[in-house]
């Protein structure tokens, strides 16, 4: 089958998609967007978290056919997405949403780097999408709020402490900028 949908603000089409393929497979293997990760492929680890019409979902649990005509944001588009949300215009480059050295990262991406929340980094894309969505809904979260919102995202390296630090840092910076 053929699927037309929007990924990170750009229209995309995928041809010859087998009906059993997931959104995750289409993103990773057909559209060249492997940022969303494949740690369990059964909706337990959250490392493939993307926004589907704004809602965080596990891309591995979404059948490719379900995204026809819909809007997907992946970690590759997170910086542009955050910029647009804060009133800026998307950075247009030849390859779409790449964020090069010195280029603008989303605040949550910068906070993960600064706080040391990235080790192997395999959980990071999903956590970034989930944490960004939480801060959009709840700009001043308590620790318990952060833990609840991120409880669907497994991390095996960090013990989560630096991830907590990163989300707190992003929230604090966000409120400073007001």
């Amino acid at each position: 089958m053929r699927i037309d949908f929007t990924v990170n603000g750009r229209p995309q089409e995928a041809d010859d998609v087998w009906e059993g393929e997931s959104l995750l497979y289409v993103l990773r293997e057909r559209l060249g967007l492997p940022g969303s990760k494949n740690a369990c492929e059964q909706g337990e680890c959250g490392s493939c978290t993307v926004r589907l019409d704004g809602v965080p979902v596990c891309a591995c649990l979404v059948a490719a056919g379900q995204v026809q005509g819909r809007d997907v944001v992946t970690v590759e588009g997170l910086a542009d997405f955050a910029r647009q949300r804060s009133g800026g215009s998307p950075e247009v480059t030849g390859t779409g949403s790449r964020t090069g050295e010195g280029g603008a990262l989303a605040p949550i991406q910068q906070a993960f780097l600064d706080a040391g929340a990235v080790q192997c980094g395999f959980c990071t894309p999903g956590l970034l999408v989930a944490a960004d969505e939480m801060l959009e809904r709840n700009p001043d979260p308590t620790d318990a709020d952060i833990r609840e919102a991120l409880s669907g995202n497994l991390c095996r390296c960090t013990g989560y402490e630096k991830i907590m630090d990163a989300v707190r840092l992003a929230a604090a910076r966000q409120s400073e900028e007001g």
């Binding site: 969303s36 740690a39 590759e76 997170l78 790449r98 993960f112 192997c120 395999f122 991390c155 013990g159």
Partner: protein
């Protein structure tokens, strides 16, 4: 966080920003947060095929027949291979004993053993084709524990085992010892005997005996086993792979592929965590075989279900301990026996036995010991390396014993530990002296002194916040039946490969001018698995060479071995190699400077010269020349191997010997709240104090301590691979059924980092990654015992153990 550093002499470059001791940020960090970092499962090649492994559905069986014809008939399938299609006579591999078949031959020995491999143009086609391979099994009785493995009529897991003499020769340095391994179903045995336990026992006023059970833990790294094998024009193959040690993989792969090692190129792809689970080969040979057979690039990516079968696990163990103490709280003796289940293939079992035995009584001074550790061959899943490596299982048991002894003596458990704590100069059971700081009592003091978390934190103005209570969002209690407990534990882990292993690393460092600026390039084969070794290499180069810009080359086999990213060794050993190569580069740069500018200033000949801030300066701070001017068009490059102090094997009968390089110590205090009615545990806080020698990157060091602590928490209350004792089949190979801690399960982990330099190690560093994984588990168990009053002799502890319903 509180830190207390004894300053370590920094030889160079304290004036250069981004050097050692700073919390510089990861060089791969931006790629990792933008999704552009290429993990092994992200690789793509034009025309690539997908590989799939068919695995055994039974644990122990003769293979009567394999019929691949239906699989080959599936459109889109390019190759199907079984044992009979292997290209050479070398058809087994292994880290220490080459007992693991590349593909099963005549027999399978564990559930999930690879039987056949398929390459197809779509992963689903490959999966479906593999499912159409017909394998007829004739099931055999299974060996699952010590009783069944050593019974008089026990089936032999390896019926033609021929490594006995070989392993004896290795462990004795050439003298065969009959009976070193008592039975062919015992992979390895290490006794350690020192002093006289029989007479020491008579001095004991209190004797405590305990039997303990440690479940099978999985590394559960998130990045699945994966890689891409690309056939090359010269008949060789290039493998892009997530591993812990490229050169170890290469050494095992090349003979099976029938290629010389220089025709098997290896490049490290992005690694999504490891924790020991990537020490053994997984899909490396299979992908290369299919690529060479089809002439097409082949990618293999395990899914999570397959990953649970695709790597070894932490050895489950049965541990029997007898401790004695005098009435005034001095340990008299320890007798212990540690039985590790190695599963169907040897993997790292012999070295795990060496650790379990030599570290089997923990960081305590005991002159009279009688220790035996063995690893079994069984039909359970193969077990091998996981963070903590043999020391973890023992720590769970000896720390439970220490609490029981303290209780019998009426002593405070921390004070009792401090009274018996090892210190610098103490002897291990192996007779080896600990010749660097061993602040065991101090770490316990520090972790005990940390502020306690407030009681009843779940209470809020709007009632109970269930997220902070046992059971969490399941909303099982609002505080009713919830009891708090506090527990302590401390552990000792060796750093680096032990028992005489030639544990070297190689580094290549180059310095040249790029764009008018001096740039250092560091090239090693070190596997960056998330630990931050690449960050530290850049810091070392900045410190030693005084440059701002450092390029870290991708790890590959075009440079010599960096050893394994295991045993908390990489910052010490490959970091040591990088420093050593930098020192040699510095000498050559200074020689160049003397040749070019020596006549302009007498300091070139007389003073101690440093490279700082892109310049050559005297130790008095006077600038002699810019590095760009000194280097000009020349590039200075050095590749060197570097070794830590040698070790020696343990004596096979007495276990005596200077087997270890360095030790790492951590202590934990766990605070838990237990819903005693439902048996649910909430870990409220898990505080850690650890001596790290010298924190080259404090942010990364604390991240390692917190991550290791969380894995120990998982082992305490949730993580266990459940193997059916009747069939030896794995019951829970998924993240639905094998639980690792979520952010809701993991508490705050305050860290008190002590820095007591080890003068034998580069910059005084001490390996940090593993020690926190040891003491975390027994601290949580001690806290749950404190809360419930139950004995709890197994880990992980499950609700039924707390409610008496299991």
């Amino acid at each position: 966080m509180p830190t207390n550093g004894v300053p370590t002499k920094i030889t160079q470059g304290s004036g250069t920003r981004g050097g050692i001791g700073e919390s510089t940020l990861r060089p791969d960090g931006i790629l990792k947060v933008t999704g552009e970092f290429a993990y092994s499962s992200d690789l793509w090649h034009e025309d690539m095929l997908w590989g799939q492994i068919l695995r055994s559905t039974v644990a122990h069986a003769e293979i009567v027949s394999i019929d691949t014809s239906q699989a080959l008939a599936v459109p889109g399938v390019y190759a199907v291979m079984t044992y009979d299609d292997l290209p050479t006579g070398v058809r087994h591999y292994g880290l220490e004993i080459q007992d693991t078949p590349v593909l099963a031959h005549g027999k399978v020995r564990h559930h999930g053993e690879p039987v056949a491999i398929v390459a197809a143009d779509h992963p689903e086609t490959a999966r479906r084709a593999a499912a159409r391979i017909r394998v007829e099994y004739r099931e055999l009785p299974v060996v699952t524990d010590e009783a069944s493995a050593l019974a008089p009529d026990a089936p032999l897991v390896h019926e033609h085992r021929d490594d006995l003499l070989q392993s004896q020769l290795r462990s004795t340095g050439g003298t065969p010892t009959v009976g070193h391994v008592p039975h062919p179903n015992v992979v390895h045995r290490q006794p350690i005997v020192r002093g006289d336990v029989t007479s020491a026992r008579e001095r004991a006023d209190v004797i405590v005996e305990g039997e303990y059970t440690f479940g099978m833990q999985d590394q559960a790294f998130l990045g699945p086993e994966s890689g891409l094998a690309v056939p090359e024009e010269d008949g060789g193959v290039h493998l892009y792979i997530a591993t812990q040690w490229l050169h170890s993989d290469l050494r095992q792969m090349a003979p099976v592929l029938g290629l010389p090692e220089d025709k098997v190129r290896m490049t490290l792809a992005g690694v999504g965590g490891a924790f020991g689970g990537r020490e053994d080969l997984s899909m490396q040979i299979h992908a290369c075989l299919l690529a060479l057979r089809t002439g097409r690039p082949v990618k293999i990516v395990y899914n999570r279900f397959e990953s649970f079968f695709g790597h070894v696990h932490r050895h489950p163990a049965k541990l029997s301990y007898e401790h004695g103490a005098t009435a005034d709280g001095r340990l008299t003796h320890v007798k212990c026996r540690i039985v590790l289940d190695g599963g169907a293939y040897a993997s790292a079992s012999p070295a795990v036995v060496g650790n379990a035995s030599s570290l089997g009584i923990g960081p305590y001074v005991v002159d009279d010991v009688d220790i035996e550790a063995i690893a079994l061959y069984t039909n359970n899943p193969p077990c091998g390396a996981m963070r903590g490596f043999g020391a973890v299982q023992a720590c769970f048991a000896y720390e439970a014993q220490m609490d029981r002894l303290a209780a019998r003596l009426g002593m405070d458990p921390v004070e009792f530990r401090q009274l018996n704590a090892m210190e610098q100069g103490s002897l291990l059971p192996t007779g080896q002296a600990v010749d660097s700081p061993a602040p065991v009592a101090e770490l316990l003091r520090r972790v005990k002194a940390m502020p306690m978390p407030p009681e009843r934190q779940w209470e809020s103005s709007e009632g109970a916040d269930v997220r902070r209570l046992p059971g969490g969002l399941s909303n099982t209690t609002h505080g009713e039946g919830v009891v708090r407990g506090v527990g302590y534990a401390v552990g000792i882990k060796n750093v680096g490969f032990s028992e005489g292993f030639d544990d070297y690393s190689t580094a290549r460092v180059r310095m040249e001018v790029v764009g008018g600026e001096p740039v250092a390039t560091v090239h090693t084969a070190m596997a960056e698995v998330g630990q931050g070794g690449v960050t530290v290499h850049a810091q070392i180069a900045r410190t030693e060479l005084g440059v701002a810009r450092v390029t870290i080359r991708p790890a590959d086999t075009r440079v010599g071995s960096a050893g394994s990213t295991s045993a908390s060794r990489q910052t010490y050993v490959t970091g040591g190699a990088v420093r050593h190569a930098c020192e040699l580069v510095r000498e050559r740069v200074l020689e160049l400077g003397r040749r070019r500018f020596g006549s302009y200033h007498p300091a070139w000949a007389s003073a101690e010269l440093l490279l700082e801030g892109g310049k050559v300066v005297t130790d008095g701070g006077e600038v002699l020349a810019g590095l760009a001017d000194v280097l000009g068009e020349e590039a200075v490059e050095v590749e060197r191997e570097w070794r830590h102090r040698p070790t020696e094997p343990f004596d096979p009968r007495t276990g005596q010997g200077n087997g270890h390089v360095q030790y790492s110590f951590a202590a934990h205090r766990a605070v838990v709240e237990v819903d005693t009615e439902l048996g649910l545990v909430k870990v409220v806080e898990l505080a850690c104090a650890q001596d790290v020698g010298k924190a080259l990157n404090p942010l990364s060091v604390i991240g390692q301590i917190q991550g290791g602590t969380a894995q120990g928490l998982g082992m305490a209350v949730m993580e266990e691979i459940v193997v059916d004792p009747r069939t030896a089949r794995v019951r829970n190979p998924s993240f639905t059924d094998y639980l690792i801690p979520t952010i809701l399960d993991t508490p705050t982990i305050p860290v008190d980092m002590l820095e007591l330099a080890d003068d034998h190690a580069p910059y005084g560093v001490r390996g940090v990654g593993e020690a926190p994984t040891l003491s975390s588990t027994p601290a949580v168990l001690a806290a749950v015992r404190d809360a419930t009053g139950l004995a709890l002799d197994r880990t992980p502890v499950r609700p039924e153990h707390l409610t008496g319903t299991g």
